[in-house]
Symmetry: C3
Subunit: 184 residues, 3 copies
């Protein structure tokens, strides 16, 4: 085996749970793209926390993304948790633009999805969420856009794209769908 | 602020109106990709009008696209009106292929959309249209394909993709959705 | 005319029939990407059949894809039969990743589609199929993902993307839709 596996999914879909369960008993590292990025920013003395990191000039942020992708790729046998796109007031921001995806060079990009209604209800139950909730229609749109950009990432890197459904009360099925990704 | 904003949308969706209203009171240039391109073709003595330009060999057309993208990018603070894809008998033709999108290097790609039924009715009212009208299903397909390619453009350039709905009698809401794109 | 035309479509959609009928009376070569690839693998002494070819290390497979794309591109006036994505247990595998699509440099990518229900029934009638059948929902998903990646291929190469519907008992309409792709 070996290689980088990217796991993505919109907030509330439960991507981390699914992949951690699927990887139980398998010797593979788990990292979050954002955590590695903030570590590197601190090492370089560019930022002390995520807020400072977000305020860096765009070219510095791009350099950080590149360094992060290179460090994760060197881990070789790793699942990296990140986003296909991040929803911002300026639109959907690509999480793995060309300069990142080509350096990560993943074997597979996993998209964990659920029905928009399910995600809506899960988000409502999460008291830590503050901002205006997305409508069911908006959640649907976000998942659609993520599928589209995942295919662009695949075209750029050769990675396979695996959709895993994490429906309510069906974590075992989600794990079964995810498992082949971790085998050769 | 500063940077290039691309605004797209299929014929009949009203993209120009939405973006011009959203930019009222903001100091930002407005250009059409096609107009800059014909200007350059004339300067070079390659074509006197759009018909002649379309008949140029493919490599000349590509060179014109590149020169146009470079000129627009130099304008820095600019909204450029163009198409994600143009529908032709040979299929959907990409308006911003890699050699264009990487030189434009936009901050955001705006997609103005409406319901296919709305676009169908708006096109029917427009007496200047000649060719066989697209069906509602075909309008839906065109918008879907544009979303998909916009995400590929995002993957190549890092631009955000903002969808703005321009529904009937709801221009104010469309403008509200578009405004954050013009702020930093 | 001249140039490479790529024809794609999921198993059971009838892409080969549609394109062969559309090309009747036109002087254009027909090849299958996979056949040219196995020919090259044999010439190089890398594999004696498809099974051996699939077991080659990834870098050898990539080299074979590149050589295949180059050979097909040299044929100049050719329709090449291949897949937007191949469905595997590890997810959708891109058939025309960047290193292939840029060398093929096609004029047009044709996607032959049908309703998921139609494809489901056609597959059921095909006794040579062994593996667990896809559900109608899965067939729909596969066609969606192929549209998305075709648009990424278009962004990378400038090719147009033409969707041709091959509905039951409507081969003539499918051929009519495909014909403009073969004209200049």
């Amino acid at each position: 085996m070996g290689g980088v596996i990217v796991v993505t999914g919109i907030p509330g879909v439960g991507k981390t749970t699914v992949m951690q369960k699927a990887a139980e008993g398998i010797n593979i590292k788990f990292v979050t793209f954002g955590s590695v990025m903030i570590d590197i920013a601190k090492e370089l003395g560019w930022a002390k926390d995520r807020d400072e990191m977000r305020k860096l000039p765009l070219d510095k942020q791009k350099e950080l993304q590149i360094k992060t992708a290179e460090r994760v790729a060197e881990m070789k046998n790793v699942i990296v948790d990140t986003h296909c796109t991040v929803k911002t007031p300026q639109g959907y921001m690509p999480g793995l633009p060309e300069w990142v995806i080509k350096r990560l060079n993943p074997r597979t990009i996993v998209i964990v999805e659920a029905d928009p209604e399910e995600i809506y209800r899960r988000r409502q139950k999460d008291k830590t969420r503050k901002r205006d909730p997305d409508t069911i229609e908006e959640i649907n749109e976000h998942q659609q856009m993520n599928r589209a950009i995942a295919m662009a990432y695949a075209a750029l890197s050769g990675a396979t794209v695996k959709i895993v459904f994490n429906h309510d009360n069906a974590i075992d099925e989600a794990v079964e769908q995810a498992k082949p990704v971790l085998q050769d």
